[in-house]
Symmetry: D2
Amino acid sequence: MIKCGIVGATGYTGVELLRLLASHPDASIEVVTSRSESGRPVADLFTNLRGHVDLAFTEPDMSSLTQCDMVFFATPNGTAMKYVPELLEAGVRVIDLAADFRIKDQTVWEQWYGMPHACPALLAEAVYGLPEINRDAIRKAQLVANPGCYPTAVTLGFLPLLKAGLVDVSQLIADAKSGVSGAGRKAQVGSLLAEAGDNFKAYAVPGHRHLPEIRQTLSTTIGEEIGLTFVPHLLPILRGIHATLYAKIQNKTDLQSLYEQHYADEPFVDVLPAGSHPETRSCRGANLCRIAVHQPQDGDTVVVLSVIDNLVKGAAGQAVQNMNLMCGLDESAGLTAPALLP
Amino acid sequence: MIKCGIVGATGYTGVELLRLLASHPDASIEVVTSRSESGRPVADLFTNLRGHVDLAFTEPDMSSLTQCDMVFFATPNGTAMKYVPELLEAGVRVIDLAADFRIKDQTVWEQWYGMPHACPALLAEAVYGLPEINRDAIRKAQLVANPGCYPTAVTLGFLPLLKAGLVDVSQLIADAKSGVSGAGRKAQVGSLLAEAGDNFKAYAVPGHRHLPEIRQTLSTTIGEEIGLTFVPHLLPILRGIHATLYAKIQNKTDLQSLYEQHYADEPFVDVLPAGSHPETRSCRGANLCRIAVHQPQDGDTVVVLSVIDNLVKGAAGQAVQNMNLMCGLDESAGLTAPALLP
Amino acid sequence: MIKCGIVGATGYTGVELLRLLASHPDASIEVVTSRSESGRPVADLFTNLRGHVDLAFTEPDMSSLTQCDMVFFATPNGTAMKYVPELLEAGVRVIDLAADFRIKDQTVWEQWYGMPHACPALLAEAVYGLPEINRDAIRKAQLVANPGCYPTAVTLGFLPLLKAGLVDVSQLIADAKSGVSGAGRKAQVGSLLAEAGDNFKAYAVPGHRHLPEIRQTLSTTIGEEIGLTFVPHLLPILRGIHATLYAKIQNKTDLQSLYEQHYADEPFVDVLPAGSHPETRSCRGANLCRIAVHQPQDGDTVVVLSVIDNLVKGAAGQAVQNMNLMCGLDESAGLTAPALLP
Amino acid sequence: MIKCGIVGATGYTGVELLRLLASHPDASIEVVTSRSESGRPVADLFTNLRGHVDLAFTEPDMSSLTQCDMVFFATPNGTAMKYVPELLEAGVRVIDLAADFRIKDQTVWEQWYGMPHACPALLAEAVYGLPEINRDAIRKAQLVANPGCYPTAVTLGFLPLLKAGLVDVSQLIADAKSGVSGAGRKAQVGSLLAEAGDNFKAYAVPGHRHLPEIRQTLSTTIGEEIGLTFVPHLLPILRGIHATLYAKIQNKTDLQSLYEQHYADEPFVDVLPAGSHPETRSCRGANLCRIAVHQPQDGDTVVVLSVIDNLVKGAAGQAVQNMNLMCGLDESAGLTAPALLP
């Protein structure tokens, strides 16, 4: 059994990680920390875990975390970087579900996250935890930067197109929509049901932190700078991201075959039949990215529809997938339950 | 034109009051105060009011409030009582949409609201602003205590039964459900879309502040103590209260006729045809209470279904109705727009 | 492996049963029938099952159904009764998720369901599949009538009180609220998002088919007729039932202990700590009934709050629980996944 | 008073038109027809209209419709074209809220709507009822083709850019999202709350009927063919369209000023301050299009955010605006109520 610790598990990625690990055949939850909820039973805060998780939250404490094989950080940005060096030193492997190790360029990171980085030397060592592009590196990694939710949906959607060199990479558009759990379990007026319910809006159009992350991954993958317009929107749903991607085709090909072949061996990317429109609910609670590709009226614009559950393939599920890879387990262990529909 | 001031208009009853007054043929909005938003244009915070309200929020200030004919308090409990004596002294009439003057018994008020009352002498003078029972007193009142949202729906639902002496008043049950705007525009985790959406629960079953208010009104009306079990629930909707009321019938009569006759002359209480099930949306945005009465299987339990929009007949609309009465206007002035459906 | 057939699996109880059986360690899905969707891959209709269920719908056909060990009916009322005699004859065991075998009294059944019963002789033989009262009989049953969703939540909520003889059984009230999946996957205007969304209403107050079912179970259990007022409401949520139950206490006792002891050994009934308010989402996707018991202001009215997922403990999950019992498996097999929150 | 008739008022555009006309100072509702609901009081079907509309639905009948000054068609596509010639002959003016007269080219119309046109001669005469481009023609029109909901939001959003010749018109992208009332009050599985709630998806990516309509308007306006990719999505909200528009800038200018000046005199188009993100709810129930324009990171992609209420500025409100123009009334008559928020 992989002994797991979770730091800062009072948010939505935290409770989802607990849910997945509690059912995982090869993992045990040893420590769950929270400064604000220390002493409180986990299942008292998250009632879905009654009968599944018997631990109480504890103060974050290095002596108990270093007893773990694997420590997950489900903390706000800027927290993991303070603990990670000591954990790595102690031989503990780490998956950070926040953004501390996602951006390779320290300057870019500090610009978008508005603080100095506490351990920039680790930025190069950290492996970006998107198995569909970095599977081998993840297997050997000590430190994995779990991708953001939008970047997962957008990157997996664009990847086959860009790898095949079919589109104008200077004019990519990602119109993305996220359910409100993506905003976290924070008391803020904009996320109230009375504000965000029966309502829809874009946000952060001038610039969102996931933009440099997507740009880095795609540019690195194809070895060329890309131009990307990324517009996120807030959906009045609990879970789910839908990315609608647009690119100008430069070389025509059978896009359906391209996508099917590209993802033929991927356990968690599902290319839908031609003509499909994936729904966010088809991934609700499941570690999946479902994709459809369209070329409306045989024109020169390709439209890719990519959906995930932001808390699963966009966060906790992908973290478990990474843990499975890092620990030599079956990549799908603990991740095989179908989505919940309706 | 009635010159109106609104104190503390940054919440949902505040924005609704602004919406109604902005369209009112005989009222003008002169002052809108908020400590936290002072200086900010009202229509910047509440974008539905762009083009309708040109004022900015100001610091609450007695010199400008005393220039008004009517001051509304849309503040948290415990605020109005600090300002009201000075306003009344200056000849300004006041409608408090919070709870400061709803309970006649100071001890009961202090017990349920957990603070000393700042001007207990005014508790007797304040008129409980439910026009359907206090219309004449409201006309002459200097200070009106606008009823709570649950009390409006529950009281109007029970009233004909109790006035007619038909039921066992020691065993009344009010199972009430409220949309989330009833919890206010406050940043709190429990009201997040990700918490309250696609979810349903009861709350405050051991005791809710609206219990003594309902009990006072019904007991006073019939001159007899009543026994009431009141269970509120949180609905994942924006606006609307549905009260399902149960009582044991002691004397049989034609309940449909009783209700229709009782409310025949009321402009804002609508008794639906026999067999109906009122929907909250049938009152969305409108100053109405719609009621249906049932006696399932001709048994001895009467079931009354009573719906309102908690922000209109349950708050701001009722306040405007009270203002109309206090100022000798047509009681329906500014309150005639149909509900929004869907 | 238990070879399972499902008749009529194009509705919400059908897809939920497929989801649960697809992950069940001891069951295999052999046949999935539908007249309207015959020939279509199941996972084409229910995209959450892509990669989990490879079958296509087939025409209902006795020769393939009789190859199964267990046949589930997820059909409209009035369908199962036409097939069941032949299946039982062939030695196949049957669980009907519809209402054909829930009511023992043929006259009552025909009155509430508006059709003649096709095999009234089986009404006596069928076992009402609520394990918490009929566990031993279910183990030996050839034919199980899976309980209705409301009856499951209401019965489990009232049971300890009634068994202990603590309340006036002539005056029980069940104010119940159900998510819209309870209305089925039928094209009807009243269930549209534009009708039922951001809205709330009661329905069927004059009489609902689950009333005689609840009455039968509770009366049989205590050997005494009960008087019950049952008012269902439509909630704008996908899944979940919340029953708020009221009864008049005749003999005082420690209600919290009573409930905890009554359900101490039940794997799927969870009595929450004193003072709790269960949420429907705490059971989302899980085979659980969570219950809290209150006695507001130490008065003589007891309030029980009982929540389930209508598609799981209220339908498909309970059916799997019954199958486990009938087949001598661990009662919890395939039913241990935590609920999905948020 | 303008005597109004409404044909086919049992859908959502119908009830919204009734709501607006019932409060209109210069209009009276004379006839409301419906084949399916003939004889039923309008306010029995649409309970929000109780006390506001006293008529019953009648069979569509030319003798009563020709008594009207103005007849609105809120019928399915293909209905109005059968009645309009006779009404025009009788001197009645007509506004069709469906699509029968929106497309000038008969071949294009028949291709997208899949039926022969019943009166192609009127296609040229009909005026496309978007006041912001056709105000003068509308004033004189006998027959107005009320624009589609998506075309209203998309056209108003692109208009200033295209008129100013600033962008590459061969590569326009409209990523549009609509609330579920846009799908109409039809019993269909895909619009059920249990299907469309807590869910999000694109639809009709290969081609949607509003594509040729938008293309016609924009091409005609600038006298040049445009290339447009239009992707509609279904939002789990009741009302509202959000169009996110993308275009490649060819000539830089101050976009904020451009938009503000373009719409400076328009009563129902509101250009928000720079940096804004309009919300659908800011138009809920109001005849408004609110627009914000962005140029992220000063790149060469312009992003326009355009929101309307699909039932008001996208249907019934725009129809009333057109009626006001046709009848020489104040263009804003009956259309001044603020939006409902929350």
